[in-house]
């Protein structure tokens, strides 16, 4: 089932997720224009960009919620472009959607149980989520509407984790949350990565993304403007790529950044 010799954390092995020339339209509007990216096992791959740059569209297309006009999504070497979102989730592509999207009439525990309904085999269980967040066990019978925004976000992450994803996609974790809460949530990343996960995240807060990411990918109006390791890019390059200043293209070979 897995690609030959694919170690779970091997850098420069075969990519776990490979997106090639993805074009997505919302009606007449072209939301993504020829986006390509490769996420390797163990990566924290951050997609940054301004509002409306197409970050969420990219993540939702990888999750299967949008159909691309052209281009392909390969997961572990297999083409998943035509698969429905629930089939992708069962294979290990799991997304925490923007705005958390918890099930409002279900309790905290029931939210986690739904997340575990079609889980793959793996290290994450509801019990393990409770061990990581002890408050959640105490409040497991509450409706999620009674939780604070940060707590809701944590439950949303827990709901995704219990499915035992291979790629965990996080869409705008920090949206609507206080900075200190955002810090705490990002502080959980090392623990999550320790279980062999790969993370693909969308973040509007560039400095946050640069802190946690092993690779960043900047989008501007549906196009790639910068791609690389945080250590290899300068603040000026990021700024240029983010805002689309004239010297953005000089910052690095856009789109081709991941070519060997």
């Amino acid at each position: 089932m897995t690609a030959a010799g694919n170690g779970d954390r091997g850098e420069n092995g075969t990519p776990l997720l490979e997106v090639t020339d993805l074009v997505v339209h919302h009606g007449q509007l072209q939301a993504l224009n020829a986006i390509s990216l490769r996420v390797f096992p163990g990566d924290v791959y951050a997609i940054i960009g301004a509002n409306g740059a197409g970050k969420s569209t990219l993540l939702r297309t990888i999750a299967g919620l949008h159909r691309p006009s052209t281009g392909s999504v390969l997961f572990d070497g297999r083409d998943v472009t035509g698969l429905r979102p629930e089939r992708r989730a069962a294979q290990g592509i799991v997304m925490v959607p923007e705005g958390r999207r918890l099930f409002g009439s279900l309790s905290v525990e029931e939210n986690l149980q739904v997340g575990a309904s079609y889980a793959r085999q793996g290290p994450w269980t509801i019990e393990r989520v409770y061990e990581m967040f002890s408050w959640m066990r105490e409040r497991r019978n509450q409706l999620t509407a009674q939780l604070s925004g940060g707590e809701q976000q944590t439950v949303a992450i827990g709901r995704a984790l219990v499915a035992n994803p291979r790629v965990l996609m996080l869409d705008e974790l920090s949206l609507g949350l206080a900075p200190v809460v955002v810090q705490r949530i990002y502080g959980m990343l090392p623990q999550i990565l320790g279980t062999g996960l790969t993370v693909l995240l969308v973040e509007q807060d560039v400095s946050q993304a640069l802190r946690v990411a092993s690779r960043i990918h900047c989008l501007l109006e549906g196009r790639t403007t910068l791609e690389g390791k945080p250590a290899d890019v300068t603040a000026d390059q990021v700024e240029a790529a983010y805002f689309g200043l004239a010297d953005a293209t000089a910052a690095g070979p856009p789109g081709e950044g991941s070519e060997p």
Partner: protein, 291 residues
């Protein structure tokens, strides 16, 4: 004493109305489908029961063991094909498709079974048997049985929705289809299961009404669907106990109306229905999730 009697008879009839309503309420609560063919499907189930009893000679009361699974399968198939196809387009299309289904069923029944009404012969002992409470209150065995069935169905449904894996998925999908998909749930399959359950209760409603009264091709729309709607609106959408309460309130209103003047039976029910729509549009018991 006559008034107490009217109220008691109304409560018992309310069980039947709750049985009419719970499938309609479930389909709307989960898939946002207003199934205008709901009543006609109950009539189909009643006719099926008559056929099954005639052909296989199963005891009348046990015919549901065959009819309910048949209707459940029909529900799953209809949901996965016709209704899902309409849902993928728009809510309005869904309304038109179920309306079309209603027309087709009604005319199909007229074509093949004529306009004659027919009942399900549950046996004289059950249909006209009763026991007496006090001096004037007579409680029929059949209305009491139907009321008990309604309560058992609602309790069972409540238990299923709140504790089982599929019950949880049904509630999750009703909350947020997309988030459920991201958790690996195929919402179309979950919809199919919800429809199967709804159609199972529709089958029970049709059989019960066939025993209680008479079924004709038009009974589905002119009685069952209307009473189901009224019960759902009075009780409050999406709440199973509200559905029972709605059925009971409708039944009691009708009986009290009949007590005042026998021709006011239906009118009294609809006046209460309208009053609730105006004064408390969310229904007597509003949905827990909105809190």
């Amino acid at each position: 004493m006559a008034w107490v009697n009217a109220i008691i008879q109304g409560v018992l009839t309310g069980g039947l109305y709750a049985l009419f309503a719970c499938g309609l309420s479930l389909m709307f609560g989960v898939m946002k489908v207003v199934n205008l063919a709901h009543g006609d499907l109950a009539v189909v189930a009643g006719y099926l029961a008559i056929g099954v009893i005639t052909v296989t000679h199963v005891p009348v009361l046990w015919s549901f063991l065959i009819v309910v699974p048949l209707m459940a399968v029909l529900g799953y198939v209809l949901q996965r094909t016709l209704i899902q196809g309409a849902l993928d387009r728009s809510v309005l299309i869904t309304l038109m498709v179920t309306f079309g289904l209603s027309v087709v069923i009604e005319n199909g029944l007229l074509q093949f079974f004529t306009a004659n009404s027919r009942g399900i012969g549950a046996g004289l002992a059950l249909v006209s048997g009763s026991f007496t409470l006090g001096s004037q209150i007579q409680i029929g065995y059949l209305p009491l049985l139907i009321f008990a069935v309604a309560v058992v169905v609602l309790l069972g449904l409540q238990y299923f929705l709140s504790t089982s894996r599929y019950g949880r998925l049904i509630r999750a999908v009703a909350d947020d289809q997309e988030a459920a998909q991201l958790a690996g749930a195929d919402y179309r399959h979950v919809f199919g299961i919800a429809a199967a359950i709804a159609f199972g209760t529709v089958a029970l409603a049709g059989i019960a009404y066939g025993m209680y009264s008479q079924l004709a091709p038009t009974t589905g729309t002119d009685t069952i669907l209307l009473f189901a709607f009224a019960a759902v609106v009075i009780g409050g959408l999406g709440s199973l106990w509200g559905t029972l309460l709605g059925g009971v309130v409708l039944g009691v209103a009708q009986q009290i109306g009949a007590q005042i003047n026998i021709s006011d039976e239906l009118l009294a029910g609809y006046i209460v229905f309208l009053a609730v729509l105006v004064l408390r549009p969310q229904g007597l018991i509003s949905r827990r999730a909105s809190s």
